[in-house]
Symmetry: C2
Subunit: 336 residues, 2 copies
DNA sequence: ATGAAAGCGCTAACAG
DNA sequence: CTGTTAGCGCTTTCAT
């Protein structure tokens, strides 16, 4: 079933059918009605490929998501797709594995579908300028603002929290509650990614308070998984590491840390406090509710779309917005 | 940049470039190398639309997911995409909202992209035959085997647990642990969907054990959300409903129920036991770990792909596989 | 207000 | 082994 068949069935030309399909003017109402009727009867749906080939240009953007399982991302995706739709853009959701190269994927997605822009969720940004330039359309990154400065900030945009500041806030809160021995659970202290930034915030807060960051307070687990976070905290407890609070650099890590503590017989927050960052929905249902720094993900998602479309419509220098992460007090931190 | 430009740059014809692109034979090795080199230098990526228009047929299928936020689905998606890739199919991930019509979406997706099949994650199947037939390619449903028999089973396939049996197992387990007053938390007792099936399993187990299913044991919340489950259990406790155990018909519902119990001062499993169904990863990190009936999601995902491809390659009657849900004992159920 | 016809970028015979 | 050419299904001038 093609547009041609519909045209034949209606006794009109293909251009008329095309006009109806695209809500264009210059079609008499009764003709329009008749064509619509046949289209519905036949459950006709135009072939996307043909449309995108023929259209000189189409408003569309892609969303590259690293790990659909990450609740923080998947909670954001819905908002992004919704907002894109509202603004008249068609969207492509593309999930990649953690081992994939998001820049390469974004570049080919953009080319293979003539996308006008891409939004990147996750992935580090420790890239060369040349790599980024492979993507020849505007880019908005929702998670990392290229703090390490490898890439000139003119060639991409971003909306995100200030990871270092959020971590600083989290740890400062623990300190204000009287904690001095604060462990940090993270993938790596120098991965040029979110983990490193949040670690810097941790160090800053500790240092300002005159607290020592000793080796046994650093639980580096290699990745962002809950398994490794759990194993890391468990091992730390087994080697009798001493701390009264744990800062998990993501909610998932903080939650896994809570479980490890609990399994080792530690009451939370009685014997050890825990704080995270991200504010994923699930944290509210944990026992105890996790205290965390909430990323305003609706704002991030909305602004990402708006900035992207702005950049598409009038290309410029690349804008970088920082949104504030807010402390949400749960039940996992106790004053000591 | 098109295939034509590449051809010109290499001094060959477009067909030669096309052959190289598609790994076809009959291209001299040195020509192939030269073309490949130019393709890489130019970061050339063929236009998807043109390819799918020109290709007589292409191996591809779509995955329609109702709510990317649902961990049970998103955990499965990864396996499905992976398996599809291994079997040489390209895949389309399409997320829909809970208010969308998955059958209609599947039908137009299939048509607009010439898909050879679709896998449906979520959504009830209380449809007319005519609706289903709109999808003119094989369908595999991973969550619901059309128990209510509205749709002839020849026109679609499925892989899933037996929801009623799983619920029966869960409740029987509670009963074997000495529980007699067992509440059920669910969206609805008659929504012609998973909720109703699992409710039937609950009733069966209760009845066989000679236990009464009184009204105050049924906590119907209207939807699958954690919010409503939490509110429902809270309200039940406030009106002094008496039970020693809760069966949440999904893990998310069970987890929300635990939180409501905990917030009301109930120790779990000390004062009230909780069991769920699904086996999402997160349950292992809750305190206490949720006891649940695990859906073998890797098996479901893999079989779904295999059945779909089987049906694509040699159309038949529709196959319906049932996989077993396994009890995973956590810490949320206590013998009384 | 409607139709005819020229592509969009690629693949797939077919010819050589 | 390589090139030529006719579409794939649609949009978009340009006529009418």
């Amino acid at each position: 079933m093609t547009i041609k068949d519909i045209a034949a069935k209606c006794g009109v030309s293909v251009s008329t059918v095309s006009r109806v399909l695209n809500n264009q003017p210059y079609v008499k109402q009764d003709v329009r009605d008749k064509v619509m009727k046949v289209i519905e009867e036949e459950h006709f749906v135009p072939h996307e490929g043909a449309v995108s080939l023929a259209k000189t240009q189409e408003d569309s953007f892609g969303v590259i998501i690293r790990g659909i399982n990450n609740p923080f991302f998947s909670e954001m995706v819905t908002v992004i797709l919704q907002r894109g739709h509202e603004m008249g853009y068609s969207t492509y959701l593309h999930q990649i594995r953690s081992c994939d190269d998001e820049i390469g994927e974004a570049a080919s997605l953009a080319k293979s579908r003539k996308l006008k822009g891409v939004i990147l969720l996750g992935g580090n940004f420790d890239r060369t300028e040349e790599e980024i330039r492979q993507i020849d359309v505007p880019i908005v990154c929702c998670t990392f603002t290229n703090k390490f400065g490898v890439v000139p900030k003119e060639i991409f945009s971003s909306v995100s929290i200030d990871d270092e500041a959020a971590a600083y806030k989290a740890v400062s809160y623990l300190i204000s509650e009287g904690h001095k021995k604060i462990a940090v659970v993270l993938p790596s202290v120098d991965d040029k990614s979110i983990s490193e930034l949040r670690y810097m915030g941790y160090c800053k807060a500790m240092k300002e308070a005159g607290l020592a960051v000793t080796d046994d307070l650093i639980i580096a687990t290699g990745d962002y998984s809950m398994e490794e976070a759990y194993a890391g905290v468990k091992a730390a407890l087994e080697r009798k590491a001493k701390f009264t609070a744990i800062f998990g650099i993501s909610d998932l890590i903080a939650l896994a840390s809570m479980k490890a503590l609990s399994d080792a017989g530690y009451k939370i927050p009685g014997k050890c406090s825990v704080i995270g960052i991200d504010g994923i929905d699930m944290t509210s249902y944990f026992i105890p509710t996790l205290t965390t720094l909430v990323q305003p993900r609706d704002v991030i998602a909305q602004r990402a779309v708006e900035i992207l479309i702005g950049a598409i419509e009038e290309p410029g220098e690349g804008t970088h917005e920082i949104v504030e992460a807010q402390l949400r007090i749960g039940e996992s931190v106790k004053k000591i």
